[in-house]
Symmetry: C2
Subunit: 683 residues, 2 copies
């Protein structure tokens, strides 16, 4: 028993049953006689301290995943948690804390982005369990710090399998095979718990294979057992009420509360645990269970230094919020998150005083597309249009081109008809005047997001551009000018037409408050792009299984047997990298690898080197290939480096139909860029 638990047991031992029950609610009241201030557990920090006033707004999670730079993400999370602590240190001078003012953050979202139609997919690190695990663990470590106390608590969510549909989330039953569960859906949870010891895990709204996630003995058992979790398990907001109201597994909130608490859900976001005392009186839950839950939560609060006078983080001052170092970190991450999908040599653009550019599209000057969701308020911000306009020495013509789903659109409709025709014509006139057109289109966080959004209950109905933007693209393309197409979205879109018609295509994943500067840096060649796609860009919805189907077959690069437009991991550069000498270094149960990477082009560049284990012919159920290692390198022109690609001990293990992971000794193929190597794996 660690010192925090000792103190927690002592404190909780002085509480009445009613007091203990009340402490299991997210808005825990003060217990004045014991010197316990009120505490609200609900805080958000998906990509910066969120909903708590001004804070550095880093790129959205999916954008940071595109960097394949978990070392940088660690620094980002370290900066976020510094800002969080600085704010907490000030907020607590008011006495208690209110919502969004504490130290317990309900981030990261490490669900697998299994289908591009899921509205909340941009909160995740993409479709790959290993990438998600690496990024999630880096985030958790950066948030929690490595001192005696936790700097802040990080929370893995949503456990488990959660990924839409948003409109049905409160009553949905996700049916998933044992193999997919262990091979895909739980893997990032397992990885993050092992590598970063998150303080908390949040249960999902949905049922998984019939059991409500927030009260699932099966899932919570796995979590504390096989997955090795030792923190506190909490509910998503209102999820325990859903057990009776929408899942119809129980009849009343009191029964739901008892079911969840007995299963191990010790903290409730929502109102259900207000019924705990009643549930106890009905004999549905015993005091011991309540006590142990309260001990878990107070252990966490002691570990956060909330009751200590020697906590090193108490000295973090308010001036770290939006400080220059964080601004620089933000720009660096924003630059690394841009993915160059196609380039025939048009990019980078010459920055000439005689040149004429048109910047067209509703996403070009839209602040929401910088901020994503679960975001803070930036202290400054630069849209893509503003970034280009400031950076470019020639003339810039701007046209919004159409309405729909962006900030400033009060109607939020896919506007069309004669009333919108002038948007189109204005865009055509701008295009006519320019040497090159930069189009910025796609979605916005108002369109793809959480339940209740504008798209399809939060989700996307399909992966096409909204209709008004399709018309805009056609109208501008008809003018015959070269188009640099910037797709702005937090998810894969159908870009077939753009790939065909545009000499260059870029992906901008809600790039944070400095996203526009980063994009301008890339467009004008100040920085070479280095992002890679963390999701597959399919050619069409027709390539996808039904959204409600949770089987992985046919989804993500690991199980999709068709030809994507842009593959997971795809990302171009302004320089070129030559790979050679992919060499296995065998170890028990697998191998690490080295590969030589040389910058064979003419400009400085960074490259994320990815290593895949290939599925074996004739072995059913294995992924087609699976990411097993990655590492970024920075190389000057002509420079070469040997990159060590370390795999995890279980990298070659695959889940069987029973969900159990086993190593099948034998010959495996790995690939890295265009290279491949054979390696014999022994136990």
């Amino acid at each position: 028993m660690n010192e925090f638990e000792v103190k927690a047991r002592e404190l909780v031992g002085k509480m009445t049953l009613a007091e203990k029950c009340a402490q299991l609610k997210y808005d825990a009241p003060a217990i004045e006689r014991l010197g316990v201030p009120a505490y609200n557990w609900w805080c958000e920090a998906l990509h910066g301290v969120a909903r708590s006033g001004v804070a550095t707004v880093f790129p959205q999670a999916i954008a940071m995943a595109a960097s394949f730079d978990d070392e940088l993400l660690y620094k980002v999370a370290d900066a976020i948690s510094d800002e969080a602590r600085a704010k907490y240190n000030e907020y607590k001078t008011f006495g208690s804390t209110q919502i969004y003012q504490g130290l317990t953050f309900w981030s990261p979202n490490i669900n697998i982005f299994r289908d591009p139609r899921w509205g909340r997919g941009h909160e995740t690190y993409g479709e790959d369990p290993y990438l998600t695990g690496r990024m999630g663990a880096a985030f958790v470590r950066g948030m929690q710090g490595e001192g005696k106390y936790h700097k802040v608590d990080a929370t893995l969510k949503h456990y488990a399998v959660h990924s839409g549909p948003e409109a049905e989330r409160h009553g949905f039953d996700a049916r998933v095979s044992a193999r997919d569960l262990h091979e895909t859906y739980l893997e990032a949870f397992r990885y993050c718990i092992e590598k970063s010891h998150p303080a908390a895990v949040m249960g999902a709204y949905n049922r998984t294979n019939g059991e409500p996630c927030c009260a699932s003995e099966t899932l919570i058992g796995l979590l504390y057992g096989e997955l090795g979790f030792d923190g506190y398990y909490l509910s998503d907001c209102g999820a325990i009420n859903d057990i009776n109201a929408h899942h119809h597994v129980t009849e009343t909130p009191a029964e739901s509360a008892a079911l969840a608490l007995r299963a191990g859900c010790v903290l409730n976001c929502g109102g259900a645990y207000a019924h705990l005392l009643a549930a106890h009186e009905m004999g549905l839950v015993d005091e011991e269970t309540v006590t142990e839950a309260a001990v878990k939560l107070f252990t966490a609060r002691f570990r956060l230094g909330m009751f200590a006078d020697d906590c090193e983080y108490d000295n973090i001052g308010y001036d770290v919020v939006c400080c220059e170092a964080h601004r620089e970190l933000n720009l660096k991450m924003a630059r690394e998150s841009v993915v160059l999908l196609k380039n025939d040599g048009t990019l980078p653009l010459e920055n000439s005083a005689e040149g004429k550019l048109a910047v067209i599209g509703p996403a070009a000057d839209d602040v929401d597309t910088l901020l994503g969701n679960y975001n803070g308020t930036p202290d400054s911000k630069t849209t893509i249009y503003e970034g280009i306009r400031r950076a470019y020495r020639g003339r810039v013509y701007y046209a919004r081109g159409c309405r729909g789903y962006y900030s400033g659109d009060r109607e939020d409709s896919d506007a069309s008809g004669v009333w919108d025709e002038q948007y189109l014509r204005d865009a055509m006139l701008a295009a006519d005047r320019a040497d090159v057109v930069i189009m910025c289109m796609g979605l916005s966080p108002a369109y793809e997001g959480e339940e209740g959004g504008f798209g399809h209950g939060g989700d996307k109905p399909d992966i096409s551009l909204p209709e008004a933007q399709r018309r805009l693209f056609e109208a501008v393309a008809s003018r015959g000018k070269p188009i640099i197409y910037i797709n702005v979205s937090g998810s894969a879109m159908d870009l077939c037409e753009q790939d065909e018609k545009c000499p260059a295509v870029l992906q901008f994943f809600y790039g944070g408050s400095r996203g526009g500067e980063a994009m301008a840096d890339i467009i004008f060649g100040h920085v070479s792009p280095s992002g890679r796609l963390p999701v597959t860009f399919y050619r069409s919805d027709g390539d996808l299984p039904p959204f409600e189907d949770y089987a992985m077959e046919g989804r993500t690069y690991r199980y999709f047997r068709g030809e994507p437009l842009y593959a997971f991991g795809h990302g171009l550069s302004y320089t070129s990298f030559g790979y050679s000498d992919l060499t296995p270094i065998p170890k028990a149960g697998g191998a690490d690898f080295t590969v030589k990477v040389k910058n064979t082009g003419r400009v400085y560049g960074e490259d994320a080197v990815l290593l895949y284990i290939m599925g074996r012919d004739g072995v059913p159920g294995e992924p087609i290939k699976t990411l097993a290692a990655f590492r970024r390198v920075s190389l000057a022109p002509g420079e070469e480096a040997e990159v060590y690609l370390k795999t995890e001990p279980g990298a070659f293990m695959r889940a069987g139909e029973d969900g159990k992971k086993r190593l099948d000794p034998g010959e495996y193929t790995v690939s890295c860029g265009a290279l491949s190597a054979r390696v014999t794996v022994a136990v």
Copy 2:
């Protein structure tokens, strides 16, 4: 008959009755056999070309009124019409024109802002008929140009009396006395028609004294008779349908169409004139009336050079849109439109690298509050916060402080409660860190505006700050730092508490895309403020008659007998001006005046010198005082100028109870600043 009418008669003479009827609709179809392209009459340019893509977005009309600078407004309108022509020249290359792409602009709005609760008041030039007339005439002249052809058509609206309530506008009957009608409501129309020959006048939605304005023989008779109008009269959009649907004056749209056309309304925005042919068949309107209406409209189109090959404006190129000259004009107008309401010497602020400012409030970083309504898309924009942040050399802390009614608020509610508490605390923390706090609060065009807005059907329920902002002000004020309060609104607000508690108070009337730069220029003393209030800032709603009451008694500085917080014409400077030698120069029916104005302070400054004619004791029905002349001067420290204040020939005439204006010879008092003079007026 001028040459344009000759051509119009010739062309219309070739049309069938059906063709002529169709040409009276705002979306007039092409008549291919006659070479007449389709034309959409609906265009907007209240303070810049609106709803037609990128354009220079000047300050909102009420802001420009605060400049009391009709010479500058003329230049602004000249710039607007250049941009409009440039766009038209390009749009017509597509063949026909669509809505917002033509040359017939439905601006300015010269209604009298009789009550601060009217949501659309910020579209006007304020509460004074003379100021409104001066500004309106300058705008019309700048729009229409002074060449053989009209550069564009300007349209005075809404004729007559129109000023809320928005929610009832389609069926409202404004009851107004003959005296108020002529002394106040019609005066700016009369003035603008006499001075600037507007091409068009738009009828209002409401009835006036029982007659629907768009079909009022009384009002339209006055317009073409006493007021000397010789252009075309058109309906507000859907207003002719309202005659049957909401005013219940007729039974059917055909009857409404016939009634309006017979009364002289030759152009219909809306669908009613689609029934004209049917109305003719029912014998409700004769062909001659239709023909004369079509002649009026084609006379206008010929006068716009639409069918000419020698129109001087055809050569205006697209590059005038948002050109540098227009940018500079925009900044100048924005600076002149800011009103310094109170200053104990705190302003201007020292711009010190060691200083710390907090900028707090939901209006501080809000783009909508720059743009007002009926606006274009700016090619660049600077919010107040951004302007201050860029200009200030010290540290700036920003906090939004609360939600509600601003862009980015999807809920648009007067948000409150625990979910918003962190906004307040964040603001308090920012205040704590600063030497000086700048608060930017008030309303937004989403709150006060046209029918259907968020406030009270578009109108304001009262003149108080929304509740969430009142709480914010209290919370920040409680921190004890000096507060520079910037009221952001298009209308008068109750600023009693701010006046009492803040060392400096400024008014920002939706100041255009460069409004934030202008405000920073003033805050840091780069420019001395020179705006004056074009409306009375009352202390309370309790000071006002009921909103629905159109009697002028008790309204505006001319008839309000109470003590306002800030009077019409109030506006401070960073320098001081000494007035002396107010001297009448008698002329038939009145007098002009000269006054010496000296800059007695230490910085360069501009001053709008206002001359009022005072109401006479014992003469009932006269305004308390009434503005009769104004002129801006620019003076270096120590410099003195003699300012000639020219009054209109009718300046000393007042409307009697019968509405007739008469001169009552005798002694009058005029005032200018603190000076007054007596003058004997003879016929």
